[in-house]
C-alpha cells in the first residue's frame, strides 16, 4: 500500500487532536504551544508543526497513549514522516531531494567520489602555484567551489519561499527574528524544556549529547565559514594568496572548525544508530545518515 502525503497529514492530524485535548507536553518544545493555538489543523498548520519538531522524543517517552494503547501516539514519528514529505515537496530541485531522502548514503558516497575524481582530474592538469595550488589552480578551485557554495544558498532560498507560502507565514517582525535566532544559537528546543536535553539515544533517559553534537557541527561550520571568508579577504583584498601558515587566520579558524564538524557528525551518526528507529521517519533514515556523512 502506498502512503501518500495526504495519509501522513491525516495521521498527524489525528495525533495532534489527541495532544490538543491533553497538553501534558506543553513545556517540551515549540511544537506544543503552536499546536494548542489551533482547534482545527490544516495541512499547512501540520507542516509547520512537523518542521518545528526536531525529533528529541521527549514527548514520546512521556506519553501515556503510546502503543500498545489503542490511541497509538507516536508524535515524533508522525511529524518526522510529514516533515520528510514536506521537504520533498518544498525542496528545490525536487527530484534530487527525493533521491537524497531515499538513498542518502549512496548519493553521498557518489558525491564524495565525484569530488575525488574531480580533484584527481584537475591534479593531472599542469598547475603552477605553491602548496595545494600546485595541485589545483586557484581558478579551478573557484570554478568548483563557487557553484558548490552558491547552489545550496539558492536552493535553500527557493525552498524556504515555498514553505513560507504553504504554511501561511506572514511578515516577520524583527523581535520574532531575534528570538528565533537566539533560541537557535542556544539550541533551546534541543534542551527538552528543562535544560536537560533529549531522549534520543537511551530510551527515557535525558541527555545533552545530541544538543552538544549539533552545537559542535554548528560552531564547526561557522568556523570553517569564517576561515573561508577570511581567506577570501586575504586573497582578494590584501593580495595574500594561500597557502597560509598554521598561525594565520584562515588556518586558526578552519582547522578546529573542520575537526569539530567531523567529530560532531560522527557523534550524531553514532547517536542515531543507537536511537529507536520506530520513533523517526521510517522512509528516510538513509537520507538522514547520508546528510550526516556528507
Amino acid at each position: 500500500m502506498q502512503t501518500t502525503t495526504a495519509d501522513l497529514v491525516d495521521e498527524a492530524r489525528r495525533q495532534a487532536e489527541i495532544c490538543n485535548a491533553c497538553r501534558y507536553c506543553e513545556g517540551y518544545c515549540a511544537v506544543f504551544p503552536d499546536l494548542h493555538a489551533n482547534r482545527v489543523f490544516t495541512s499547512g498548520d501540520l507542516t509547520q508543526l512537523a518542521n518545528l519538531c526536531h525529533n528529541c522524543r521527549g514527548c514520546y517517552y512521556a506519553c501515556q497513549y503510546t502503543a500498545p494503547h489503542e490511541f497509538d501516539l507516536n508524535l515524533p514519528r508522525a511529524l518526522a514522516d510529514l516533515r520528510q514529505a514536506s521537504w520533498e515537496d518544498f525542496a528545490w530541485p525536487q527530484p534530487l531531494a527525493r533521491r537524497f531522502h531515499r538513498d542518502g548514503v549512496a548519493l553521498s558516497l557518489a558525491v564524495l567520489l565525484g569530488f575525488a575524481a574531480l580533484f584527481l582530474a584537475i591534479g593531472a592538469l599542469p598547475g603552477e602555484g605553491d602548496g595545494f595550488y600546485a595541485q589545483i589552480s586557484h581558478g579551478a578551485m573557484v570554478a568548483i567551489f563557487l557553484p558548490a557554495f552558491l547552489f545550496p544558498l539558492l536552493s535553500l532560498a527557493i525552498s524556504m519561499r515555498r514553505y513560507w507560502a504553504a504554511t501561511g507565514g506572514g511578515g516577520l517582525s524583527r523581535a520574532a527574528f531575534r528570538r528565533a535566532f537566539g533560541d537557535a544559537v542556544r539550541m533551546k528546543n534541543l534542551a527538552g524544556g528543562h535544560g536537560e536535553g533529549c531522549n534520543f539515544e537511551a530510551e527515557d533517559r535525558f541527555s545533552q549529547a545530541r544538543r552538544r553534537a549539533h552545537q559542535a557541527v554548528m560552531w564547526g561550520f561557522l568556523l570553517c565559514f569564517a576561515s573561508t571568508a577570511s581567506g577570501t579577504l586575504l586573497h582578494y583584498l590584501f593580495n595574500q594568496p594561500a597557502p597560509y601558515p598554521l598561525w594565520s587566520l584562515p588556518k586558526l579558524l578552519g582547522l578546529p572548525g573542520g575537526v569539530l564538524m567531523v567529530l560532531g557528525c560522527f557523534w550524531l551518526a553514532s547517536l542515531k544508530r543507537r536511537a529507536d528507529p520506530e520513533l523517526g521517519a521510517r522512509a528516510v533514515r538513509g537520507g538522514e545518515m547520508g546528510f550526516l556523512l556528507l
Binding site: 487532536e17 489527541i18 490538543n20 485535548a21 491533553c22 497538553r23 501534558y24 507536553c25 506543553e26 513545556g27 517540551y28 504551544p33 494548542h36 482547534r39 521527549g58 514527548c59 517517552y61 512521556a62 506519553c63 501515556q64 497513549y65 503510546t66 502503543a67 500498545p68 494503547h69 489503542e70 490511541f71 524544556g193 528543562h194 536537560e196 527515557d204 533517559r205
Partner: protein
C-alpha cells in the same frame, strides 16, 4: 536471588516514593508491579499535577498558598468528612515534596494552557505523570531497587498481626517472598467491574474506567478479608462525566468533556434532568458523573450550537454535527420529537443574554423552566448543531485501608507490625468523600515517603 528487606506492592507514585525512600535508608527493596512495563505506573501515569502549599513563590508555583487556605479548600469538597489531623500533616509536608521530587528527576512546567486557575495551587509535571513515573523508575534503578513487572500480588499471609509471606503470580507461575517489611500501594479496585457492580449495582457495568485496568483491588480484598481495618464508603466511587465514546479503560485526561455549562443536556429519553449552569465546570464535573450514572442506561447527551463550539477545551473525539436539531437527534439515537420539544421549551425560557460571560457565573438564566439553567442560558438556534454523549468515568474508589499518621495498618485495634499503606489505597483515611484536584498525588507522595521510612527502619532494626 536474595530476599528483599522491603517489599513494595504496586508500581505507581506512592509505591515508587516508598521504594526510593526505603532504599535511600539502606534497605534492599523490591517492587512488584502487576502491569507490564509499557503500562507501569497505575493511575499515576495519567496525572498532571500535585497540590502543594507554599509560603512564597516555589518552583513553578506563583504567589503563596497557605496551610489554612489549602485545608479550607479541602473541607469544602469533602463536606467536612476529613481527618483534619492527617490532612494538615499532608498539607504541611507537601511543601518539602517539591524539591524532593526534583532531586529524584521530576521536572515541572508552568500551569498548562486552559488551567491557569491552578497556577497558584498545583505544580504541573513536565510531560505529565508518565514522565514522573519514568524519572522515579530511573532513580529507583540507580538506587539498586529491583522491579518485577507482570507481578500480581494475590495474598499476604499473616500471623500474630505480622505479614509472614507474600504470594504473587508472574508469567503463569505462583511465587512467594518473605520480606521483613511490606508496603501496600496498589491503588483502588475500580478496575474490577464485578466488584463495582456488587457495590454500586448493575448500572456500574456501564461505567467507564478513566485509568489503569490493573487496579483490581486483589490486595485490598485479601487484607479486608483477614480483618485488616478498613475506611471509606464501600459503595462509593469518584466518577466524572466524560465523553461516552471513551475506551472502557485507560482513556485518561483526553476523554474529559467541558461543554456541559454551554449546553442543554438530555437523557436517553430526550428529557432534561439537571441545571447545566449551576456552577463553573471544574466545580461541577464530579457531580455530573453521578447524575449521568442515575439516568437510564447511564448515558446523557450534551447539545450545543455553533455559538458555543470554541468556548471549551477541545476533546479527543469530534462532536456529532448536523444542520438541524432533528438530524442531530437522529444521529445521536435520541427520540426526535421529544428532544426537539425539550430544546424548544428551553429556548422559549431563555431571556436577555447581553450579560453572557463564558468564564464566570453570569446569571444569564431561564425563567419558568424546570429544572432551570441558572447561568449561560443562551438560545440553541444557530446551526450547525453539535452533540456529545456523556458517561460516568470512574477515577477511583473510596474503600481502603485505614492507617495512622505513620502509614501503619492495623488489625482490630492492634498495629500490624510490618505492614504500611500509601496512596489511593489509604486515601480514604484522609478524605471521606469528595476530591480536590491534585491531592491524590500529594497524599501518595507524603505517605509513600513515610511508609518507606518506617518500613526501612523496621527492616534495618531486624537485620
Amino acid at each position: 536471588m536474595s530476599e528483599p528487606d522491603v517489599l513494595v506492592i504496586g508500581g505507581g507514585n506512592a509505591a515508587l516514593c516508598a521504594a526510593m525512600t526505603a532504599a535511600e535508608a539502606g534497605a534492599r527493596v523490591r517492587i512488584l508491579e502487576a502491569a507490564p512495563k509499557a503500562y507501569r505506573g497505575g493511575n499515576s501515569r495519567h496525572t498532571r499535577n500535585f497540590r502543594c502549599m507554599h509560603d512564597g513563590p516555589l518552583g513553578p508555583l506563583i504567589e503563596s498558598y497557605h496551610e489554612e487556605e489549602n485545608l479550607s479548600d479541602l473541607l469544602k469538597v469533602t463536606g467536612g468528612k476529613t481527618d483534619e489531623v492527617l490532612a494538615r500533616m499532608v498539607i504541611r509536608a507537601s511543601e518539602a515534596c517539591l524539591p524532593w521530587m526534583e532531586a529524584r528527576g521530576v521536572r515541572f512546567q508552568p500551569s498548562l494552557s486552559g488551567t491557569l486557575s491552578l497556577a497558584r495551587t498545583n505544580a504541573f509535571f513536565l510531560g505529565g505523570g508518565k514522565s514522573l513515573v519514568n524519572a522515579y523508575y530511573r532513580t529507583a534503578e540507580s538506587l539498586g531497587i529491583e522491579t518485577f513487572y507482570d507481578a500480581k500480588v494475590t495474598h499476604l499471609e499473616m500471623s500474630e498481626a505480622r505479614v509472614t509471606s507474600v504470594t504473587y503470580e508472574r508469567h503463569g507461575a505462583s511465587h512467594q517472598v518473605t520480606p521483613k517489611s511490606v508496603v501496600v500501594a496498589a491503588g483502588g479496585f475500580q478496575g474490577d467491574l464485578d466488584w463495582l457492580a456488587r457495590a454500586w449495582g448493575p448500572a456500574a457495568r456501564n461505567f467507564l474506567i478513566r485509568g489503569t485496568p490493573y487496579n483490581r483491588g486483589e490486595v485490598l480484598a485479601d487484607l479486608l478479608d483477614q480483618g485488616v481495618e478498613q475506611v471509606g464508603d464501600p459503595t462509593q466511587c469518584h466518577a466524572v462525566a466524560i465523553d461516552g465514546r471513551a475506551p472502557q479503560f485507560d482513556g485518561g485526561i483526553v476523554t474529559r468533556l467541558d461543554c456541559v455549562p454551554f449546553s442543554v443536556v438530555v437523557n436517553r429519553d430526550g428529557a432534561r434532568f439537571y441545571d447545566e449552569g449551576e456552577d463553573v465546570w471544574p466545580k461541577r464535573y464530579a457531580i455530573w458523573g453521578r447524575l449521568v450514572a442515575d439516568q437510564p442506561d447511564q448515558v446523557a447527551y450534551a447539545i450545543i450550537d455553533a455559538k458555543s463550539l470554541d468556548l471549551f477545551m477541545p476533546s479527543v473525539f469530534p462532536p456529532i454535527k448536523a444542520d438541524t436539531l432533528e438530524e442531530l437527534a437522529t444521529k445521536l439515537g435520541l427520540p426526535v420529537k421529544r428532544t426537539c420539544a425539550t430544546i424548544a421549551a428551553f429556548n422559549a425560557a431563555c431571556g436577555d443574554v447581553s450579560a453572557f460571560r463564558p468564564t464566570e457565573l453570569d446569571g444569564v438564566t431561564t425563567t419558568g423552566l424546570m429544572p432551570p439553567k441558572t447561568n449561560w442560558a443562551r438560545l440553541i438556534t444557530t446551526p450547525p448543531f453539535y452533540g456529545y454523549s456523556l458517561r460516568p468515568g470512574v477515577t477511583f474508589t473510596y474503600l481502603g485501608l485505614k492507617v495512622d499518621a505513620r502509614a501503619q495498618c492495623s488489625l482490630g485495634n492492634q498495629p500490624v507490625t510490618n505492614l504500611w499503606a500509601a496512596g489511593e489505597t489509604m486515601a480514604g483515611s484522609i478524605l471521606g468523600q469528595g476530591y480536590l484536584a491534585g491531592f491524590g498525588m500529594t497524599i501518595g507522595t507524603v505517605f509513600g515517603r513515610i511508609a518507606g521510612e518506617e518500613a526501612a527502619a523496621r527492616a534495618n532494626h531486624h537485620r
